[in-house]
């Protein structure tokens, strides 16, 4: 879904990083900032709870790179929804810095924040958050209406977005006349109407039936291949995270337990908690050719891209080939994928 190698894409850090969180804290409760200052380094979950506060997000550090899908995965109560609201400053952090294109959001004035949200950010909500009194067209055009865009222009742009998510022809329908999947398409179209740079999706598919969820994930992958947005995607579903993510951060009790590519998480889970999620995932579906290839020796007829996952490369061995050449983005051979390694991954999981 993303052709750039995220690891190699950013020689200049300021260039590639869109959104950074530095030591971000959020405690709920009265006089949380004082409590945090008092506790200093001793701000463990227990110490915070002992003060009658709720530690929603604790010392989160992460950076989202331009054009990548960054998934934040955690179970309910892990603080992931709070975190995404901190990133868009819907909630004020108790401490820390949030940098967007190098600018600290927390020092931005209300007016600057409004401008930034109007033009650079979009958000999709778990329960769609469609305005019940507006038609599909009205809902999608709503962010533009708020900005004061003239009717003809905003409706033209909204129609384009509605067509993009495959709802052309339903412009005049009201939200309650649509199915859940269709409602979320409207939500997606609306969040894209302002052509945001940074796209937040807060559990966008959690409220949908499993089959529809799968369909919407495919739709999302298709959209992203066209749009190439910088995305922060929240989910509680590890399979969904694996499927969509360039990189994943796993949260537990307000802390990030581990972050990395799906492959890294599956191959090297940092804690037992992460292992719980990863052990059910077939490795062949996340491990990429570049991770198991060896130095090229001898001849290989077929070739496969370095970022292809093993499960997709496996059919090339069906004709009895012992090795397949691995090529980089430019088409140059960088190594060989051996039959034995592929079988081991496929069998062993």
């Amino acid at each position: 879904m993303n052709d750039d190698d995220p690891a190699a894409a950013a020689p200049d850090p300021a260039e590639g990083l869109t959104l950074q969180c530095r030591h971000v804290w959020k405690l709920f409760g009265a006089r949380a900032d004082e409590a945090l200052r008092d506790l200093g380094d001793g701000a463990t979950a227990e110490a915070i709870v002992a003060r009658g506060l709720v530690p929603a997000v604790r010392d989160v550090n992460l950076s989202v790179r331009r054009g990548e899908i960054f998934v934040i995965m955690g179970l309910s109560g892990s603080g992931k929804s709070t975190l995404v609201r901190l990133m868009s400053r819907l909630i004020e952090p108790t401490a820390g810095e949030i940098l967007f294109n190098g600018q600290n959001l927390l020092t931005a004035s209300d007016k600057e924040m409004v401008e930034m949200r109007r033009h650079k950010m979009g958000m999709v909500f778990q329960h769609f958050a469609l305005l019940p009194h507006l038609s599909v067209l009205g809902n999608v055009a709503f962010p533009l209406e708020v900005q004061g865009v003239a009717r003809a222009e905003r409706e033209a742009r909204a129609r384009k977005m509605i067509a993009l998510v495959g709802l052309a022809g339903r412009e005049e329908a009201l939200p309650r006349q649509l199915s859940g999947g269709q409602q979320q398409r409207v939500g997606i179209a609306r969040s894209l109407a302002v052509e945001p740079e940074l796209w937040f999706l807060d559990e966008p598919f959690s409220a949908l039936d499993p089959l529809i969820r799968r369909e919407m994930q495919d739709e999302f992958i298709r959209l992203q291949s066209v749009l190439k947005k910088t995305i922060v995607f929240i989910t509680h579903d590890f399979d969904e995270a694996i499927r969509l993510a360039d990189r994943i951060a796993i949260m537990k009790d307000g802390e990030i337990v581990q972050q990395g590519t799906p492959e890294e998480l599956v191959l090297n889970p940092a804690t037992d908690y992460v292992r719980e999620f990863t052990q059910a995932v077939p490795k062949a579906k996340v491990v990429r050719a570049e991770s198991v290839m060896v130095a090229a020796e001898g001849a290989a007829t077929a070739t496969v891209g370095a970022r292809t996952v093993i499960a997709d490369a496996a059919p090339l061995f069906l004709d009895g080939a012992e090795a397949v050449a691995v090529t980089d983005a430019g088409g140059a051979v960088v190594g060989h994928l051996r039959r034995a390694d592929v079988t081991r991954l496929l069998m062993g999981g």
Binding site: R117, R118, H127, A129, H133, L134, E145, E172, L174
Partner: protein
Amino acid sequence: MADAPVLSPPRGLPRWAGWGIVLLACVALWLWGAKAAPWAFEWPRHATIPAARWITAFTKWLLNDASFGLFTFQDLTRFIAAVIDAPYRVVLSVLSTGFLDGQGSAAVQITPPLAWIAVLASFALLGLWAGGRGLAALVAACFLFIAVFGQWQSAMVTLASILVAVPLGVLGGLMLGILAWRHRWVSRAIRPVLDLMQTIPVFAYLVPILFLFGFGPTAAVVATLIYAMPPMTRVTELALARVPSELSDLGHMVGCTRRQMMWRVMVPSAREALMVGVNQVIMLSLNMVIIASMIGAGGLGFDVLSALRRLDFGAGLEAGFAIVALAVALDRLSQAAAARGRRPAVPGGVVARHPYLIAALAVIVVAGVAGLLIPAIQSYPEALQLSTGTFWSRVVEWINVNYFDALEAVKNFFLLNLLIPFKRFLLGLPWLGVAALLAFAGLRLGGWRLALLNAALVTLIAVTGQWEKAMITVYLCGISVVIAMLIGLPVGILAANSDRLWSWVRVIIDTLQTLPSFVYLMPAVMLFRVGDFTAMIAIVAFAVAPAIRYTVLGLKGVDPRLIEAGRAMGCTEGQILTRIRLKLALPEILLGLNQTIMFALSMLVITALVGTRDLGQEVYIALTKADPGRGLVAGLAVAFIAIIADRMIHAGAGAARARLGLGEARA
């Protein structure tokens, strides 16, 4: 109040020991204290706080001398009056009098009012738009009823007041509600005010309003606004608080300004709940406009009131039914409009998009022109009017001639054996003892704050010299509530068991609740003449509705799995009722009791018209003498009684809920 700990007796003493001591002390005071401490029975006259005189003086000062620098208080009331008066004149002209040129009897009509057919058709079209053919037919029938029974003129005057009061009430309530939702301190500041506005009997603030705004429809609209705004304010605050947080997040994410957030996101999203508030405003306005006929609202309320004064039962009943017809039409219309929701827009020109509006305008124009030629279209022909007034008067006369002795015997039996002894008993009680008892009960039910509140309110009633009248109020209200519960509970239990019976009962109690309270007095006065017994009958008839409703709701709300479990254990139907259903429905039934008391108190004030001697009478006298202090002090005493009853029952219901593990007390 919920967080205050409920005190348990010290260890070693049984739970009833505290009660025993307090009761003994009270009885001792009652029996032997009269000589030792006469002030505990009757607060000495010279020590009475002259609150009434203070308030009257304050109002006079407000009216004559108060100034806010740029403008005086009188300028303010005149400004408010003008704001209300201008639209009222226009609406009244359109509906009833026509636009006039000149003053008084020399006035010349420039344009006639809307033809009755045009009004009827417009409302029917509104019904068609909001709820379809059935509703249109119902609304048309209601208006036709009003025309046929010759109530058209009065009904239009009443309708004009409502059409002015409702938009103002909705708008004012909405604004206050928004403020309360935005700022916690506003919410906290207005909550007790709203509580008071809803518990003070309406008569009590009719007096100051009369004083400030003079006699006339403007004052009536002001009173209606005060009465009808609190529920809208509450509903607004609640509705906004219940808008899903995702929607406000959305508003922030798309960069809404504060105003855009409120009017483009929050208010439209809360629309459905807000419409419930609008319906409440309409119904309360209607109720109040009738009562406000006492300060010059005119219209149907005035007809009922004057019929009551003349003891013309038939005329009063017809005007009463016209009010019901108006109430039913407006209630169903607003409910249907609330449930309607938005529909997809219809493409096309102005005519295609607004078919109903265009049709209504067409009917108005056509009927207006035709009305110039054919008078029967302009105003309903008198020759076709019906009146059943004489018939009803005859019926009452016949009953009185034939059953006078029997009715008298019933009345005397109740008076001699129940009403009078109970009244004597209550009047003999020392206020100090009552205060102590209530404070102790408050302590047990809800903690220190409730105890202090009870003691303070009882003392205030006593020291402002209202004790005797307050006790008469408690006596009439108490007996009526007991009787209403005695009727309401069994009927509720029966209705909860049979859906068919319930559908009938519901129609009856819905009708009982839309009837203006005046109407209840009529038949009672006809049959039993003036006096306490008559008042009691009217109060019971008015207050029985919530007793039945809450009993049914409570019993129906009991978890069916528990009933099943009871049946599986071999309980008989009787055991299921007493051991499971009534026990679990207790909190709801207690809330029903609360509502019954509130209804009884609000009716009690109106029964002053039939010559009771309680606080209601005091308010009523103040009204006729335009003495704002006297009216407000008596009104506040009624409010205090209501507040004590309300807080005690809420605490009791909360405790019952907690004991049953049903979670937080609702309402």
